[in-house]
């Protein structure tokens, strides 16, 4: 018996979320008195997972798995879970992990809870806390099946280095045909994605037009952040749809969310409430975002943002 964890990588490099799910799995393993086995696909630096608590890594190297495929990846994890007699499987909350986890749940006949924000409060019965009602509340849910799948919310647990080391083993399970073939991927490779970002800089209708996004991008660049926007901004075509965050857009669970010229409508807040620290910049003192934010600046974005960029550059230079 062990805890199995699926670790995502991109272009051979493990994602930060992968280190986080391993840190989480280690905490669960300690609670249950067992060890952590990680599954990685085409990762070049799999041994680093040892430092976050994995004692074994099952590494699949296969060029045909370069493009993510939910059914194939779910089959790999299912195979590994059966080999290891895993009682708990941990995955992240990336779009890909959320794609494969329900398939895996059926394959393993395992109860699955997504958007989990803490280590289990109890392992018998196995009870986890997760966000619900689009981040307006939390539920404490028991998983009653023998095998359990936990989907961890990004940035909710953090990275915990344990200084251990992992034995990396080659793993080559049989992989089923997948009924879904990836034809093409359209992705800005040099940009931080909203799901992976620790900091998100987001602009709303208050920015008046797409020509004013230069300063949003510059602020994001200084902070190493992803850029996002409110729904009307993407509806108006000022920004791509993939940047729209909120209830009907992408969820954000970053450490820092900076909202510029966004009123803070409930549907917007629903998608970003899981972010830890929120900053709002808005001319209107009555904007609802001031009730949801930790820090606020009442002011014109066109004056405040350039100043903020300048101060952050100075801060970075001083702390380099």
């Amino acid at each position: 018996m062990s805890i199995l964890v699926y670790t995502e990588s991109e272009n051979g490099k493990l994602k930060k979320a992968a280190l986080e799910v391993v840190s989480y799995a280690k905490a669960v393993a300690d609670q249950m008195g067992t060890s952590v086995t990680a599954v990685a696909v085409n990762a070049d630096n799999a041994e680093t997972l040892g430092n976050y608590g994995a004692s074994k890594v099952l590494l699949v190297k296969d060029d045909s798995l370069k493009a993510f495929n939910a059914k194939k990846y779910a089959a790999i994890i299912e195979n590994a879970a059966k080999n290891e007699a895993a009682k708990v499987v941990v995955v992240s909350s990336s779009a890909n992990s959320k794609y494969l986890a329900p398939l895996l749940a059926v394959g393993l006949d395992a109860g699955y809870v997504a958007n989990v924000v803490e280590a289990p409060s109890n392992v018998s019965p196995f009870t986890v806390k997760h966000s619900a009602f689009t981040n307006k509340a939390f539920a404490n849910t028991e998983i009653t099946t023998d095998v359990k799948i936990v989907g961890l919310s990004n940035n909710s647990f953090g990275l915990v280095e344990s200084g251990g080391s992992a034995a990396v083993e080659d793993f080559s399970p049989s992989i089923p045909d997948s009924g879904v073939t990836v034809e093409s991927v359209d992705k800005a490779t040099d940009k931080v994605s909203i799901a992976d970002a620790e900091i998100v800089v987001s602009g709303g209708r208050g920015l008046k037009g797409p020509e004013n996004w230069g300063m949003i991008e510059e602020l994001a660049e200084v902070l190493g952040a992803a850029t996002a926007c409110s729904k009307p901004v993407s509806d108006l075509g000022w920004r791509p749809h993939g940047e729209h965050v909120g209830q009907t857009g992408k969820p954000v669970a970053s450490n820092l969310y900076i909202a510029i010229g966004i009123s803070g409508a409930i549907q917007h807040l629903a998608g970003i409430n899981a972010s830890k620290v929120k900053v709002v910049i808005n001319t209107d003192t009555e904007a609802p975002f001031f009730k949801a934010a930790d820090y606020g600046v009442v002011g014109d974005a066109f004056e405040v943002v350039p100043k903020l960029i300048e101060k952050l550059k100075a801060f970075k230079a001083a702390n380099a």
Partner: protein, 248 residues
């Protein structure tokens, strides 16, 4: 093509979320229920297939009698008939199990579900359903074309999008993008009148128990007041983010 659209009956977005019975039950008092926003996009896309490609469109909900007004609304938008599986929606697995029976009994080629429902946000029903019935599955679907038994879909991925080809039978988890929001259908008078005459069949559940059980709920701890920083003193904001919030 026979299409089934899964309709989740959820609290309207602006609802205040409260719990009763010692925080063990969702308080429906004063809550307005609506078609799950992600399902609305799917339903409108299904109407497009019906009108342009001659598909039939049924809608289904797993839930008690209180969800019927939501199904009637889907009929008023243009679905041909509705099915209600008469059992409370306990968890994603149990719902998927009931839906699997409906799909198998009805011989549907395409099942359109929402990416996730806005009450539990699990994003698990469509994938579990696909797994159970052995159909192909595309999550976070923002575009879908069907030609015979072949399908082309675009799905949103972290940081971009991906185009995939697949085939029927197919289950998708759909979202905004499947149709434009301005194209969403609103029931008109004629639709509402017609919906009254359309069949709404109640079927009894198959045996399926839940695999997870929400034992209690809690609301986020009340937040302290926002700390305001003067627009002329942005240095202070940088200092606060570094020293106090420790996020930069």
């Amino acid at each position: 093509m026979k299409i089934l659209v899964c309709i989740s009956h959820v609290p309207d977005t602006t609802s205040k979320i409260n719990f009763t019975d010692g925080d063990t039950k969702f308080d429906t008092n004063g809550v307005q229920f609506v078609i799950n926003p992600n399902d609305e996009f799917g339903l409108t896309r299904a109407m497009w297939f019906k009108e342009k490609q001659g598909a039939s469109v049924d809608v289904v909900n797993v839930g008690g009698a209180e969800t019927e007004p939501t199904l009637r609304k889907a009929l008023a938008i243009g679905a041909d008939s509705a099915i209600r599986v008469n059992t409370p929606a306990t968890d994603g697995y149990a719902v998927a199990k009931q839906l699997a029976k409906v799909v198998n009994d009805g011989g549907y080629d395409l099942v359109i579900a929402g990416r996730e429902s806005i009450d539990y946000n699990g994003a698990m029903v469509p994938g579990m359903l696909a797994g159970m019935i052995g159909a192909n599955f595309v999550a976070n679907c923002i575009s879908l074309e069907v030609d015979g038994t072949n399908a082309k879909a675009v799905r949103e991925i972290d940081g971009g999008k991906e185009t995939v080809s697949t085939s029927l039978p197919l289950v998708i988890g759909g979202q905004k993008g499947l149709v434009e929001e301005s194209d969403l259908r609103i029931p008109n008078m004629r639709g509402i009148m017609m919906a009254r005459k359309k069949p709404l069949t109640v079927v009894e559940p198959t045996d399926a128990s839940a695999e997870t059980n929400a034992v209690s709920f809690e609301k986020p701890a009340p937040k302290g007041a926002v700390k305001l920083v003067d627009a002329d003193n942005i240095d202070e904001l940088v200092t606060l983010l570094h020293n106090e919030a420790k996020v930069i």
